[in-house]
């Protein structure tokens, strides 16, 4: 899974604009369908992480109250209703169709809004496309979806529940969530 450096930190303004225009709450679900059996069949490896609210609260209870990082994780996680991550790895480029990703985007309508779309290329020349969507319900962020696609890898992250973006960096590299969302961590491959 590649890092997604600097994505959130460059998007605070966009988030502020979105939150300042509250949308009417609708029945738009926060939890998305990320499981696509046909895609799993084509992938060489898949990792599926599903942590619902009760499991997250249980885990939060085990976190240290003295370690500052763990306190931040605990504060962020205790109100979440779930973290769901699906990672597909492929042996060859082109084994998954961009239309496969469209099946996720098709669920991100109504209260969901795209706030970030970063297309980048690392030093090895591999392209990386990161899209971040927030669900804005009456001015509150109630969900987040990250679609990170590379030629041989597709990662889908669905965070359900109220999210404090200022504390989001605490979740980087935790519970299957990619690193580098806040831009604090250097990329392992050295690219920017």
């Amino acid at each position: 899974m590649r890092k997604l450096r600097g994505v959130i930190s460059n998007s605070i303004l966009a988030v502020a604009l979105i939150v300042s225009v509250p949308l009417v709450a609708s029945a738009q679900p926060s939890r998305l369908i990320l499981d696509f059996p046909d895609l799993s069949g084509k992938a060489s490896e898949t990792v599926d992480v599903a942590l619902d609210g009760s499991m997250l609260r249980l885990a939060a209870g085990f976190l240290s109250s003295k370690d500052a990082d763990e306190v931040r994780i605990r504060e962020l996680v205790r109100d979440l209703k779930g973290i769901y991550v699906k990672n597909y790895s492929f042996d060859k480029e082109g084994q998954y169709d961009p239309a496969d990703v469209q099946r996720v985007r098709a669920q991100l309508t109504g209260t969901w809004q795209k706030i970030v779309n970063v297309k980048s290329r690392n030093r090895a020349g591999t392209s990386e496309d990161v899209e971040i969507y927030l669900q804005n319900v009456n001015g509150r962020i109630e969900g987040m979806t990250i679609i990170a696609s590379e030629p041989k890898e597709l990662t889908l992250v669905n965070i359900v529940g109220p999210i404090d973006l200022q504390k989001l960096s605490a979740l980087e590299g935790q519970f299957g969530i990619p690193e580098g969302l806040s831009g604090d961590a250097p990329r392992k491959d050295g690219s920017q």
């Binding site: 899974m1 490896e45 898949t46 990792v47 992480v49 499991m55 085990f62 991550v85 519970f175 299957g176």
Partner: protein, 158 residues
């Protein structure tokens, strides 16, 4: 007069009694795999002794372990997840599922809380071999498992 053998036996039996509900689930899951796959799990000599050592010393945050392995079995078509769901009195929550089409491996990691203690159930298939393992773990071990799901699924892939 001290009777260490008696004391050890009492300790071991009390541990077994405390673990009875979990053990029942584990047995049901193993039995169901045996019935559906028409196989017997492989007997591991002196496993009870190892289990007692784990219980007394909580090695790497694991304070109880139950293990069943099926070697060279023709159970590749069995849906292990449905067996776990059908044979658990208390719900196991699937938290990590890893599949490798390349290596024909599947790893399911489930979790649940029982009397304030965390338990993990790991069902892993590697080609013709299948392993079912139930662990009672310390909070730190449970946290480490869910905070690094990719690493955990690799560690438990037998």
């Amino acid at each position: 007069m001290k009777r260490p053998g008696f004391i050890i036996a009492v300790l071991f039996l009390s541990n077994l009694l405390l673990a009875l509900p979990a053990k029942a689930d584990f047995r049901e899951i193993v039995r169901s795999i045996e019935q559906k796959g028409r196989v017997q799990h492989t007997w591991i000599p002196f496993f009870w002794l190892g289990r007692m050592v784990v219980h007394m010393h909580a090695i790497e945050g694991v304070s109880d372990i139950q293990l069943a392995t099926f070697e060279k079995s023709e159970i590749s078509s069995i849906d292990l997840d449905s067996i776990v769901r059908a044979n658990s009195k208390e719900r196991w929550q699937p938290i990590i599922v890893a599949r490798s089409n390349r290596d024909h491996e599947q790893t399911y990691i489930y979790s649940r809380e029982e009397r304030g203690q965390m338990q993990l159930l790991i069902v892993a298939r590697d080609g013709e071999d299948t392993t079912v393992m139930q662990l009672r773990v310390a909070p730190e071990r449970f946290l480490a498992t869910i905070r690094n799901p990719g690493e955990s699924s690799e560690r438990f892939a037998f």
